[in-house]
Symmetry: C2
Subunit: 333 residues, 2 copies
């Protein structure tokens, strides 16, 4: 197996590109794929201030490394979710990486900010852990970006992540989610004239042209120490079933994943645009608790999902004796 570029010994092959690369040219290829995604989808400009959500895993650390090398003004944001040793280890690895590359890093803890960890949130509200975690992360990432004055939020979702999400949304024909399944979601402004303010920052996913295997290979070849273990709360997650099913098809027919994703963006995404809840701006109002955009309810008291969930968790945490045995059993399971 020889490098496609220099014909030296190759260390990584990428079947869907029908190509193999030596270490140097693989790293270059990987950086190029990120640069191409940024350009193709007009993710951000050279002088934008970027906030990168960092989990301590291969994807976000590899992306951080690449964005620094491409010369972007990028700051890491680590949100401690309070998931025991897993969170400790991933936080330490994120801090080590920042020190090694002299990169800016903001660390916050969901427990310090809101009074509960992700496992507690799940136990108190009965929400599936991944659901409460996703809600909290989306909320905190956006809040941190707004508070700290960043123009763009960047996440490390790779091709496999996007393909599994797309597959799940297609299997259930979740049209509202299909309307938002893009590598870039523009910022959302609330209010008009002098009252206008950014309520949701622009969100971008520069790894959409790279598979999980490629970001892992990049991290390994660059000597990046990342948390290898999976989140202990992810077990039974249907997202994993979707990943597995599509990965089997990719093995028998390399390129299936990227064709599925790129084909969606090119030939189908526009067909679902009208299904976006927020397509009609009149339906979006500011949450009465925190000001984040939320869908207008019948009552005048529109509160966003995070504030409603937080209020429920806070109430239950304060009154454990009033919870019924059935609910307590469920929440402790």
């Amino acid at each position: 197996m020889k490098c496609k570029v220099c014909r030296e010994h190759a260390v990584v092959d990428i079947r869907r590109h029908n190509a193999a690369f030596c270490q140097d040219h693989f790293l270059e290829h990987t950086r190029n794929q990120v640069a191409r995604a940024i350009k193709e989808f007009r993710m951000f400009r050279a002088d934008d201030r970027l906030l990168l959500a960092v989990s301590g895993g291969k994807d976000s650390l590899a992306l951080w490394d690449i964005l620094i090398d491409l010369g972007y003004d990028v700051t890491g944001f680590y949100l401690d979710l309070g998931i025991g040793g897993y969170s400790h280890r991933s936080r330490d690895l994120s801090i080590s990486f920042a020190e090694r590359r002299s990169a800016k890093l903001i660390v916050r803890s969901i427990e310090t900010e809101h009074g509960f960890t992700v496992p507690e949130l799940s136990a108190l509200t009965g929400r599936v852990p991944c659901s409460g975690c996703g809600l909290s992360k989306r909320y905190e990432f956006n809040r941190a970006a707004l508070e700290e004055g960043f123009e763009v939020l960047v996440t490390g979702h790779n091709l496999d992540d996007e393909v599994a999400t797309l597959f799940g949304n297609v299997l259930h024909w979740n049209t509202e989610m299909l309307a938002r399944q893009m590598p870039v979601l523009n910022e959302r402004i609330l209010g008009e004239g002098d009252d206008a303010r950014v309520a949701l920052v622009r969100k971008t996913k520069p790894l959409v042209k790279l598979s999980e295997r490629e970001t892992a290979a990049y991290a390994v070849l660059r000597g990046i120490d990342y948390v290898v273990e999976e989140c202990p709360m992810v077990e039974g997650n249907t997202h994993h079933h979707y990943k597995h099913a599509i990965t089997q098809l990719e093995e028998s027919s390399p390129g299936t994943k990227s064709q599925f994703y790129a084909g969606f963006l090119r030939k189908a995404a526009d067909r679902f645009r009208d299904a976006e809840v927020s397509a009609d701006d009149t339906e979006i109002v500011a949450c009465i608790s925190c000001g984040a955009p939320t869908v207008r309810r019948d009552t005048n008291e529109s509160r966003c999902s995070f504030c409603k969930t937080k209020a429920l968790a806070t109430k239950r945490k304060a009154e454990p004796a009033r919870r019924s045995p059935a609910r307590r059993r469920k929440s402790e399971a």
Copy 2:
């Protein structure tokens, strides 16, 4: 396991319906699912003359049995594809069924009609066997229905077939096919006024609410002798990979298939309607060879896919000595 209806011992369980049935109530349930599909999608009226494409397999024979029991005026149509012993056995089983149920059956042979079998067509033209076979069947089914005066063509595609096709079309975002992925395709008229004639008969799939496992169970419990072997030419068919991938998801989450299919019809199919090639009637003209509808080409000589393929096969068959060794090797493989 008890029957959902009568609480007697159940012989078949259907996980996606969270139900089990005794023999009698399973047969009744199966007939009801066919009757419901016919009604829901307005497939045909009680007095329509139906031509059912019969392969000798479980699906088409079970459907034939059910349509007779539901009181429809249904005639079987067996097309001998000339695939060796497989075709002989499936033809014999179709004839036996017709005799047993005193049903009308039309038998034609593609070799007699056009001068080549499906394996020959594939070898002569270099087409994948399933592709040439599908083309020939669609053509011959329609031609037979028109010539013999049937209003509706009926095929035995079951839920698994439709789901695998839908999955393949979605993976490749084949929008033109997604526009036609319906349990009913209306007839197509060519010409205007006194010249107007049906060029494509109405096509319907009454088994879309039943899985492969259910049609097999129906056939077994009804004592229907069907060809169990798969077509020997199907090996490596990507359709089978898609079936396998979705079946795994169905096992971990019963109902995935029917939700995927029903959700498509309800929430997505309309979004692809404009992608149908024949959406614009001006683009559809009569084939200059046979009169079948075909897409207008730049030249004035619009010929349908079947006639072009047949012309190529006929020419090659007549002049074997003029074929290059490379082509001969390929076609004999």
